[in-house]
């Protein structure tokens, strides 16, 4: 019964979404304020209904109700509770439910926090959100219904794919979707602005917090997914340029560009048309990503052709929203008046360069991802576009961007002095080069580019700190004033600096692992030893074990440095009983920011086993950098200036001279 009520709530949510679209639009056309006021109420009601529906599905998983087909296909009564819950979104139907839940959650947030928005704008934004909700609720109900019953109910479920039974999977999709779907708010704001034909700096101020929040979540989601692949797939790779990864990376690149162009619009009223276009494109890329992952078109064009219902439905959603938005843009963009002027060498100019490179990079990844599909559809010829292609093209695009990053915040708005900015970055570049030289001293023998890569990473960090240093006036004013100025800097200044430091940290991690990782593949018997990263690993033998829904074999290794035992490592292979599916559980030990990674292979005749040992220097920097970037986004969000109309802090801050923006 409860299942049917959940199902019914979803149908009601669809009806509410239609109301959320139709009535406010009618209201804005007829200038009827009471109709416009329906939007927030409908958004909140829609959120509660979808939340209820989602909770019912979760409940079915928690109590292992195998009369629900979706639960039977993806769950097992012996599965640990956390994976019963995360299993809700570990399959197609459930993940679309999560998508919808997060979409209506954002609508409800706009309804709640949008009280200071102009009436028409809020009604239009929520109406567009309602239209998107309508499309996805229809998609779920018509093609991917998770509430379908089985009769008679099977006694036991078929279990979740073991690779997905991991804490990483519990967190990764919600974070990713919060990012993906968060950009829908920017999209809706863009459409609303186009409908009204009016857009100004205030618009950018309203959009930027949503873009920042979505971007921060997407950053975290991608990093989480990368770390999950690293420890779960068992061969220590952390980024594969897999189409599914690209599907999340393209919106991230476009979203990063959007954040920066919205900054120009907010401060200088320039780049309006471009910012609106980017807001549309970013969410379009999120939709495209959903299509690529959910339609099955990636696994094989043929699989898509044999069961095309879902794929065609999402494709229709995709064409409707992207096509509709771009047509609207083409008709209305000319009505948006251009704003402030700027010289090519200026803060605006630097941000335009940032946008140029980031959008080119996004388009490059998109081209590489879609090219094989399109070519096969057109000519029947099959080609592969993989990591070597992306590393080459994407890498070449990133080099000029990374060198330019620290210049941006140091250039003045309107007209900047690039020589002066260059002089201020002398110290940062010097520190970077010294770091490169130190790396050469410690780990000589790597490729030359690796040392320049590390130098660039350190230069990015030092360059970001230079900006804070200069704005606080350290060295120019007394330390007390400098400290007060530093503390009084706006949140967005720290946000920018942290995000840019994060890129530097990630770069250092990527370069170190790529250039200096070592790998040993050996056949080992007990008491045999292998050297890796300055450690000696001794293989002590294997042990059998039993988990709730799997059996495992674990190898034990003693890790010593200079003859002294420092730690030990268990590395396992598991066999999940329900699906007879094996997984590797790599043994990982962290030393500072570096890791020792041990993975087990096949047993060999005569009682040994193949062992793979990697030394991954500075690998944690890759994800640490992403966390720092995310923190930067979060701190920027708390900048009071982003909350238009927010009351002044009650405590008057003593006026302190602050460096000009």
């Amino acid at each position: 019964m409860i299942i049917e009520i959940g199902h019914y709530a979803l149908v009601l949510a669809l009806a509410t979404a239609i109301v959320q679209f139709v009535l406010p639009v009618a209201g804005t056309i007829r200038g009827d304020r009471s109709l416009m006021a329906v939007a927030p109420a409908a958004a909140l009601a829609g959120f509660l209904l979808v939340l209820f529906s989602f909770s019912v599905l979760t409940f079915a998983y928690v109590v292992s109700d195998f009369s629900v087909a979706n639960v039977w296909e993806n769950s097992h009564s012996l599965k640990p509770m956390i994976y019963k819950i995360s299993g809700v979104w570990g399959n197609h139907e459930g993940s679309m439910m999560l998508w919808l839940l997060i979409l209506v959650f954002f609508s409800a947030l706009v309804a709640t926090f949008g009280a200071n928005l102009p009436e028409r704008l809020r009604a239009n934004v929520l109406a567009v959100q309602g239209l998107i909700s309508t499309a996805f609720a229809l998609f779920i109900l018509l093609t991917s219904n998770p509430f379908v019953r089985l009769a008679p109910a099977p006694a036991e479920g078929r279990d979740l794919n073991p690779v997905l039974q991991d804490i990483g999977l519990a967190i990764h999709p919600p974070l990713l979707y919060l990012g993906y779907v968060g950009f829908s708010v920017c999209f809706s704001f863009a459409i609303a602005a186009l409908i009204d034909g009016r857009i100004d700096a205030a618009w950018a101020r309203w959009v930027r917090p949503w873009a920042l929040a979505a971007w921060s979540f997407l950053t975290a989601g991608i990093a989480m997914g990368s770390y999950w692949a690293y420890y779960e797939l068992g061969w220590g790779g952390w980024w594969f340029w897999d189409p599914v990864e690209n599907a999340s990376f393209i919106p991230w690149l476009a979203g990063t560009a959007l954040l920066h162009s919205a900054l120009v619009m907010e401060k200088r009223e320039a780049l309006k048309v471009w910012t609106v276009l980017l807001a549309i494109l970013t969410f379009s890329m999120s939709l495209l990503g959903t299509f690529l992952v959910r339609s099955g078109v990636l696994t094989s064009v043929h699989a898509f052709a044999t069961d095309p219902t879902r794929g065609v439905f999402i494709l229709a959603i995709l064409v409707f929203f992207i096509g509709g938005a771009l047509s609207l843009f083409a008709f209305r963009a000319a009505t948006l008046k251009a704003g402030g002027l700027f010289a090519p060498i200026s803060r605006e100019g630097a941000l335009v360069l940032n946008n140029l490179i980031l959008t080119t990079a996004a388009a490059t990844v998109l081209t590489g991802t879609l090219y094989p599909l399109v070519l096969e559809a057109l000519t029947g010829e099959k080609i592969s576009v993989g990591a070597p292609f992306f590393n080459l093209t994407f890498g070449s695009l990133m080099i000029p961007l990374l060198v330019a990053v620290p210049f941006g915040p140091l250039l003045a708005w309107k007209r900047g002095d690039i020589l002066a900015a260059g002089q201020r970055l002398f110290a940062a570049a010097g520190i970077g080069l010294v770091a490169g030289a130190v790396a050469l001293y410690i780990e000589h023998g790597g490729p030359v580019m690796a040392y320049f890569g590390i130098a660039t990473g350190v230069y990015l960090i030092a360059g970001a700190l230079t900006d804070l240093w200069l704005r606080a006036g350290i060295g120019k004013v007394t330390p007390a004033i400098a400290f007060r100025r530093f503390v009084g800097l706006p949140g967005s200044a720290f946000g920018t600096a942290l995000a840019h430091i994060g890129i530097g940290v990630t770069l250092i991690g990527i370069v170190s692992v790529t250039a200096f990782e070592t790998e040993h593949v050996v056949e080992m018997k007990p008491t045999m030893q292998v050297e890796s990263g300055g450690f000696t690993l001794t293989f002590d033998g294997m042990r059998k074990g039993q988990g709730p829904n799997y059996t495992e074999e674990s190898g034990h290794f003693t890790v010593a440095r200079g003859g002294v035992v420092v730690t030990d490592i268990w590395s396992s292979k598991r066999l999940y009983t329900a699906r007879r599916m094996p997984t590797t559980e790599a043994g990982i030990r962290t030393f500072g920011l570096s890791q020792l990674y041990v993975s087990l292979g096949d047993p060999i005749a005569g009682g040994g086993i193949v062992v793979r040992v990697w030394w991954k220097p500075m690998i944690l920097c890759i994800w640490l950098g992403a966390l720092i970037m995310m923190a930067g986004g979060a701190i920027s969000l708390f900048d009071r200036r982003l909350r238009v109309g927010a009351p002044q802090k009650a405590r008057r801050v003593r006026p302190v001279l602050e460096a000009a923006e």
Binding site: L298, L356, T359, G368, V385, V521
Partner: protein
């Protein structure tokens, strides 16, 4: 007989993810092995999704790895090995497609987009720079300016 049966059974049961490169495949010459690894990273495992033969544990990937090493041992250049593998498996095996008519757009896309973006940007800035902003000076203001400049 019994031992063989057990061995076969073990092989079937041990459906564990095997490793990519196994110790028995590794060439004695480290320089040659390094070249083999580099080549393997650019060749696709035909039965996997987006995995190179260097990363894959599929049987077919192993065959291909052994083939690459065999050719290298016979003194083939890197290009010759790639050509040979492509002649047997088709262009699909290359993770980095070669520049041909069909892949012109793929390889050209980044450069074309970047250049188009730059041109659009320059045109935009030029046009905007030429546009008048604000209100022009009145005659009185011009006279005042002349006077100040004269001083």
């Amino acid at each position: 007989m019994m031992r063989r049966l057990v061995a076969v059974l073990l092989l079937v049961l041990a459906a564990s993810p095997a490793f990519a490169v196994n110790p028995d495949e590794v060439l004695d010459d480290p320089a040659l092995e390094a070249r083999a690894r580099a080549l393997s990273a650019e060749l696709r495992c035909m039965v996997c999704q987006n995995q190179s033969i260097d990363d894959s544990n599929a049987e077919l990937a192993r065959d291909l790895r052994l083939l690459v090493r065999e050719r290298l041992k016979n003194g083939d250049s890197d290009e010759a090995v790639i050509d040979y593998v492509v002649s047997r498996y088709g262009e699909f095996v290359l993770l980095k497609p070669r520049l041909r008519g069909e892949t012109l757009l793929l390889w050209g896309a980044p450069a074309i987009l970047f250049l188009a973006g730059t041109v659009a940007m320059v045109l935009f800035v030029r046009r905007r720079a030429g546009a008048a902003t604000g209100t022009p000076l009145s005659d009185a203001e011009k006279a005042e300016l002349e006077r100040l400049m004269g001083e």
